[in-house]
């Protein structure tokens, strides 16, 4: 019973236009519309960490928390690239992840949308290009859209996803 009481007392916190973060709902609706049209209502994302420090992953995770609740817009993260419409890649691509990243992309059915999330994925960030790092994701596989930030906040991730989806309409 305690669990039910807690759930009831917590209530629905998923953000609506009345809340200070009104943008979430608004952004979500615009994303939803594109997903309805182009992906039959469901966009599957396979996230690939190609060398990140894990900060980007924390923020991508946050998209699934009850405030943002990404799934309500038709976006969900999948376990296999075989199920994915989009690769969301973070990190500078390390030399040791180069092959794995290319193989993951090859496993996704065409057409694939590749989004590079975070400053490292966008330009190599603090790590740049070295013996161990190949820098930007674009240096290794073709990238359709970039989301800046170190790490990008959940809101900028949403904006970036919208921009990426918008490009293809």
């Amino acid at each position: 019973m305690k669990i039910f009481r807690k759930i009831l007392r917590t209530g629905v916190i998923t953000e609506t236009p009345a809340s200070p973060e009104a943008e979430i709902e608004d952004l979500g609706k615009r994303i939803s519309a594109i997903i309805q049209r182009r992906y039959r209502g469901s966009l599957a994302i396979r996230q690939v960490d190609a060398g990140s420090c894990n900060a980007c992953e924390l923020e991508i995770h946050a998209l699934n928390n009850p405030y943002y609740d990404l799934e309500r817009f038709g976006i969900h993260f999948v376990a296999s690239p075989r199920h994915a419409d989009m690769l969301l890649v973070t990190g500078p691509v390390t030399r040791n992840m180069e092959t794995a990243l290319k193989m993951t992309l090859a496993a996704v059915a065409e057409p694939t949308l590749v989004v590079a999330a975070g400053d490292c994925a966008a330009c190599g960030g603090e790590f740049g290009v070295s013996y161990a790092s190949l820098g930007a994701v674009n240096n290794v596989i073709p990238v359709d859209a970039v989301i800046r930030g170190c790490p990008p906040t959940p809101l900028s991730l949403l904006q970036g996803l919208l921009a990426a989806l918008g490009r293809r309409t």
Binding site: I3, D49, N54, A62, P66, R95, G128, V129, Y131
Partner: protein, 521 residues
């Protein structure tokens, strides 16, 4: 920083017939002839000193190998030895310290120095496609070198017998997590052996540090492991300040601790939810992610970054808090702690989750002591070790933590310690905020005129972080070694997994939540 163990180690070595040259500098260290390096490790082991870290550095004509040891109530001690000129082998101390095994393999990979007597000479960070003669941490190796790819193969441990099969997992895992490879040997559902293969996110951080000035290095330190950005920044800055003989204002030290405890809260809360989620209890997951987000939003508002990245800089912190900020932090921390007490009560009485976590993934007390298991993983197996108390750095010298230790060493024990630490962090935050010293929060960074060295230890939410920094005469970084607690705790997961059926592995993995990035560097 407490170095009482330095004098004790010196006495111990003298009594054991090992002559050490005593450098009572800051930080103090003992220099030992290479012929007696093994004997040093043996004596340290017999005296039950914990091996903290093992690393190498390039010198003009040769290389040095450094070791750090610790013991409860006595703090830390440093020892080093120099290889003979043009020699490329050094005595392995892995026979005495299990935790040295991977550290020596890393030295082998990055310096090309062979640990003589090491039972496992397979490369570790250097994957099979690396040319054999590329040694990035040698001074002659340029950081920008583009290495050709070569053919190679990593030999995993194999097992024979009826019904034994292998499960390869990763490096790309089935979730939003860092990459690494796990090779399971299993019979039916039961794991016989887990072998980790890491190094996938090796970004060359230690090489990238070389030649930077201290403030530029701080940006890199903040990105060693994004989930522990505060603690890594703190360790780096403390080492740099020690090397430069720089004192930071008391208010800056208190604010660093405040940020570090808030980071502990956010990660403990998030991970408790995630562990429960791996046992299909989404109620707890949603509650915890909600609280974690609340913390992140306050951090953005008060400190300009949701994860508190780059808030700690050499010389202090970048942000001050005013009275409104203090009130807001006090109120929120108390509220979050109260909610976590309520959620603990729910967790403790929720049989389906208890069934999954109790007795799952046990690391025995003896094994934990053997590898020097750190953080909540260690404390859940009776390893009473917490750098905040043991190194007694400011402000914890005035505000010591109440270290939560228990027995059991299973998922339930690891969770229990984290629930307890949430309450203690909240208590510390309360005290720190109420007794916040007045004054400046930043002194500025002054590039030191002399070469110097710093060794700092910080208790991150995951466990003890070590940073050793050596500056050149012009204040540039000559060598920076970072030892994330994951360097040791990944060994704990391998031990824990042997008790576990395959479907419970994610639950166990999450209960350790080791860093890939912090380990791979």
């Amino acid at each position: 920083m407490r170095f009482a163990l330095h004098a004790q180690l010196n006495t111990l070595l003298t009594q054991g017939g090992v002559a050490a040259q005593d450098f009572s500098t800051e930080p103090p260290s003992l220099h030992i002839a290479i012929a007696q390096w093994k004997a040093t490790a043996k004596l340290a082991r017999e005296a039950r000193l914990r091996l903290v870290a093992l690393w190498a550095a390039a010198e003009d004509e040769s290389f040095t190998i450094h070791a750090a040891f610790a013991q409860k109530d006595h703090g830390y001690a440093l020892a080093s030895t120099t290889l003979d000129a043009h020699a490329n082998t050094f005595p392995s101390i892995t026979p005495y310290y299990v935790a040295a095994a991977r550290m020596e393999r890393v030295i082998h990979d990055l310096f090309g120095l062979i640990p003589d007597g090491h039972p496992d000479t397979r490369p570790w960070l250097k994957h099979e496609h690396w040319p054999a003669n590329a040694f990035p941490l040698r001074k002659s190796f340029a950081a920008a070198t583009q290495l050709p790819r070569v053919e190679g193969r990593y030999r995993f441990i194999e097992a024979e017998g009826d019904g034994v099969y292998e499960i390869p997992v990763g490096p790309v895992h089935a979730g939003i997590i860092e990459p690494g490879h796990f090779r399971f040997l299993a019979v039916g559902e039961q794991i016989l052996n887990l072998e980790e293969r890491l190094g996938y996110v090796h970004k060359g951080i230690e090489k990238a540090m070389e030649g930077r000035d201290v403030p530029a290095g701080a940006r890199l330190a903040a990105r060693v492991s994004g989930d522990a950005t505060v603690a890594h920044s703190w360790a780096y800055c403390q080492a740099a300040e020690q090397a430069a003989g720089l004192e930071i204002p008391p208010r800056a030290a208190a604010l660093r601790a405040l940020l570090c405890e808030r980071e502990r809260l956010a990660n403990h809360i998030g991970d408790i939810g995630a562990v429960c989620n791996d046992a299909a209890w989404s109620f707890m997951h949603m509650q915890c992610q909600r609280l974690r987000e609340d913390l992140a939003r306050s951090h953005l508002q008060l400190f300009g970054h949701r994860l508190l990245m780059d808030c700690i800089q050499p010389g202090g912190v970048t942000r001050n808090v005013d009275n409104d900020g203090i009130r807001q932090l006090l109120t929120q921390t108390r509220a979050v702690a109260a909610e976590m007490r309520e959620l603990y009560d729910t967790y403790e009485n929720h049989t389906p989750i208890r069934e999954r976590v109790i007795d799952s993934g046990v690391v025995t007390t003896a094994d934990a002591a053997d590898i020097g298991l750190l953080g909540y993983a260690g404390r859940s197996a009776e390893q009473d070790c917490d750098a905040r108390r043991d190194a007694a750095y400011a402000p914890y010298d005035r505000h010591p933590p109440r270290v939560a230790v228990c027995r059991g060493g299973d998922v339930a024990a690891r969770l229990w310690v984290r629930f307890a630490e949430i309450q203690d962090s909240a208590r510390l935050i309360d005290t720190l905020l109420r007794e916040l010293p007045d004054g400046a929060v930043y002194t500025g960074w002054h590039t030191p005129q002399d070469a110097g060295c710093g060794f700092a230890v910080i208790e991150s939410w995951r466990g003890e972080i070590v940073t050793w920094l050596r500056l050149t005469a012009h204040g540039a970084i000559d060598r920076c070694h970072i030892r994330d607690p994951s360097m040791i705790n990944w060994l704990g997961l391998e031990l824990a997994a042997r008790e576990v059926p395959v479907p419970d592995f994610p639950l166990n993995n999450k209960s350790f939540n080791c860093s890939y990035s912090g380990h791979d560097l």
